[in-house]
């Protein structure tokens, strides 16, 4: 087992809203080993993006706050760092790439300059240009010398996302958090970007936390998967195991709704309802109102993570030894 790089333990991130406290991340535990690719899968409102923001302590709203938990990177406690130290971690050991490259880039600054700036923030300006050109070449952009002076609007969506990845990787991060990095892109461009991320992992020895709703992308890129539902990780394990033998009814439902180009699947088995309101979660297991296998206990008791196999766990009472024994009889 490779040494863990990122370790998230019992993380709680809350957002204060006029309607009450939204428990966007509600006690998750997650590890990303060095150099590994881990997928964090969920639908909208599952808390997967807030998990990424929590690691960087960079929230889209001032109302969000980490209330409890531990986040360690290469053994260092990130939550103990002050703002200045955290700024150095961002874009240094950890970088993040978002869905929409257009909003991330500064529209009035040449793209090369933006890559150079990311380098200079940590290492000073003296060799920033040189490193920026190298980063632009590394992400597969042609003719970096000319491209350096171009503006974001002069580039295609795919090229802009490459620039964003160059900015993220110019300081050789240990961990790249990619939040829906290809969702805004066309399929053929998505394939280019996924290929690039895989190459960067190999060449830079970088780990990847890939946040996505797309099970196909996870299957293609990740060795391990965590499935999030309403602020919690409901199942986690090796990708092959999760796809072949999902243990949580939510994961089972997701996979049953996932269509594939490999065969025409009848669209029959469907999860009813939608993700619950995070400000008013149901009692017991938060999936129980939609669960086809709901039992009495699920309505009152929140299930703990129960082991299903090596590195494979699901938060579901079905896997409680007493229940499992009862079913076997």
């Amino acid at each position: 087992m490779p040494e863990p790089l990122l370790e998230i333990e019992d993380l709680h991130t809350h957002i204060a809203t006029p309607r009450g406290v939204v428990r966007a991340v509600d006690g998750i535990t997650l590890a990303v080993p060095r150099g590994a690719a881990v997928g964090l899968v969920g639908e909208s409102g599952s808390g997967k993006s807030m998990t990424g923001f929590s690691v960087l302590r960079l929230f889209p709203t001032a109302r969000a706050r980490i209330v409890r938990g531990r986040i360690r990177l290469a053994g260092r406690d990130l939550l103990a760092l002050d703002d200045e130290a955290m700024r150095r971690v961002r874009g240094g050991e950890v970088a993040m790439v978002f869905q929409d490259p257009a909003t991330f880039l500064n529209p009035v600054l040449p793209v090369g300059r933006q890559v150079a700036e990311a380098y200079a923030m940590r290492h000073g300006w003296s060799r920033a240009r040189e490193h920026a050109l190298e980063a632009l070449a590394l992400v597969g952009l042609p003719d970096p010398d000319r491209l350096y002076h171009r503006f974001p609007h002069e580039l295609s969506g795919g090229m802009r996302q490459r620039v964003v990845i160059a900015i993220a990787t110019v300081c050789r991060p240990l961990l790249l958090i990619a939040d829906e990095p290809t969702t805004a892109l066309d399929v053929t461009i998505q394939a280019q970007i996924l290929d690039l991320l895989q190459r960067l992992r190999r060449e830079l020895g970088m780990a990847l936390l890939l946040i996505t709703h797309d099970l196909g992308i996870v299957a293609e890129v990740c060795e391990a998967v965590s499935v999030m539902y309403a602020g919690r990780i409901v199942e986690s394990g090796p990708a092959e195991t999760i796809f072949a033998a999902p243990g949580h009814p939510y994961t089972q439902g997701l996979l049953a709704s996932a269509l594939t180009i490999e065969e025409a699947r009848p669209i029959t088995r469907v999860m009813e309802g939608t993700v619950p309101d995070l400000a008013a979660l149901p009692g017991g297991c938060r999936f129980h109102p939609r669960c086809p296998m709901v039992m009495d206990r699920c309505r009152t008791d929140d299930p703990p993570d129960l082991a299903l196999g090596p590195g494979h766990a699901a938060a579901c009472w079905l896997h409680d030894p007493t229940v499992a024994a009862g079913r076997a009889r």
């Binding site: 639908e43 909208s44 295609s156 795919g158 090229m159 066309d186 399929v187 053929t188 461009i189 998505q190 394939a191 280019q192 996924l194 290929d195 709703h213 797309d214 099970l215 196909g216 992308i217 996870v218 299957a219 293609e220 990708a239 092959e240 796809f243 072949a244 439902g253 997701l254 996979l255 709704s257 996932a258 269509l259 594939t260 180009i261 490999e262 065969e263 025409a264 699947r265 009848p266 669209i267 029959t268 469907v270 999860m271 009813e272 939608t274 993700v275």
Partner: protein
């Protein structure tokens, strides 16, 4: 054919150069395509492929620059008065953005009332008919939904309202432009199940416009692939997915991730270089040649023929089936 495109083209003016010729975006070029009663035909492609513009022309929302749309074997240009109104009732459209396509100031009851009025349902019967439509698309209890405004609904519920509104005119064909692309996986499946049930129960045909090949494989009987304004391949869905003939279709399928790690390892991926060219200045010869892994000199020079590669399967390519 219920609804048909014949040699359809659409050009949009783009800017104006002083003393020079006006530039034109060639959104759609010479597209022929038919939708028979009760079937689902998928129109797939990436951004700028012209799939949405083709759909809008078939739905009568856009006037073609060349070619014609035919409805029940009559060219639209020949339809007048009652026949034109019948076409407008019979062909409805639903869109990706369920919010933008509903009037935010009207309740569901009012939205459906307008649509039912257009079909000529007498005012006295409309509220019953509206309730019936909501029941049909699964928004129950109906009484709690009728007085709601679109913003009070989830994305999936709003898309159900759009479907209900389309059904209000009792259509023969629904042009559905990315109807499930903005929805979460579990909600997406609910809407697809709904669309399939409506097809069984009402015999409505769909022109299903999508960039998502996995969805297309499960919903469509026939599929047409567009690239840069051109229809580059069409045929029965099974045939096109099993034996794609156009190199673009081959690449598109190979680039689509599959939700199965073992299959992902087995599959060979073709990664096309570069971006989709601008429809302002499509490349000479075959429009796909700058990105095509098997392009030859001929492809750079000459526009390709539409070749019948198998029964009912055609590809616009000099070398179909060779990638």
């Amino acid at each position: 054919m219920m609804l048909e495109a014949r040699g359809l083209s659409k050009r949009f003016p783009w800017g104006r150069s002083l003393g020079g010729a006006r530039a034109w975006v060639r959104a759609v070029e010479d597209v022929s395509l038919g939708v028979a009663a009760g079937e689902t035909v998928a129109l797939v492609g990436e951004s700028g492929s012209g799939k949405t513009t083709t759909g809008r022309m078939l739905a009568g929302l856009e006037v073609p620059t060349a070619g014609e749309v035919r409805f029940r074997d009559q060219p639209l240009g020949a339809l007048t008065g009652a026949a034109w109104r019948e076409y407008r009732m019979a062909v409805q459209m639903i869109f990706q953005d369920s919010q933008a396509s509903l009037n935010p100031r009207k309740t569901l009851a009012q939205i459906l009332d307008v649509a039912l009025g257009a079909r000529g349902v007498p005012a006295a019967r409309r509220s019953d008919a509206a309730a019936e439509l909501l029941r049909e698309v699964g928004l129950e209890p109906v009484g709690t939904f009728l007085p709601r405004f679109p913003h009070q609904l989830s994305g999936g519920q709003r898309q159900r309202v759009n479907v209900a509104r389309a059904l209000a005119t009792d259509p023969a064909v629904i042009v559905a432009d990315e109807p499930v692309s903005a929805l979460d996986l579990s909600v997406r499946a609910q809407i697809l199940v709904l669309l399939q049930r409506l097809q069984r129960e009402r015999g409505v045909a769909y022109l299903f416009i999508s960039h998502d090949l996995a969805v297309v494989r499960s919903v469509a009987r026939r599929v047409a692939v567009m690239y840069l304004g051109r229809l580059v391949e069409e045929g029965p869905t099974e045939a096109v997915f099993r034996r794609p003939a156009h190199p673009y279709t081959v690449a598109l399928l190979s680039a689509t991730p599959v939700p199965d790690p073992r299959a992902a390892q087995r599959r060979q991926r073709i990664i096309l270089p570069g971006d989709i060219p601008s429809p302002l200045a499509p490349p000479p010869g075959c429009p796909f040649h700058p990105r095509c892994p098997i392009a030859q000199d001929l492809c750079r020079r000459e526009f390709p023929p539409l070749v019948e590669v198998a029964q009912e399967q055609r590809a616009l390519c000099h070398f179909p089936g060779e990638l």
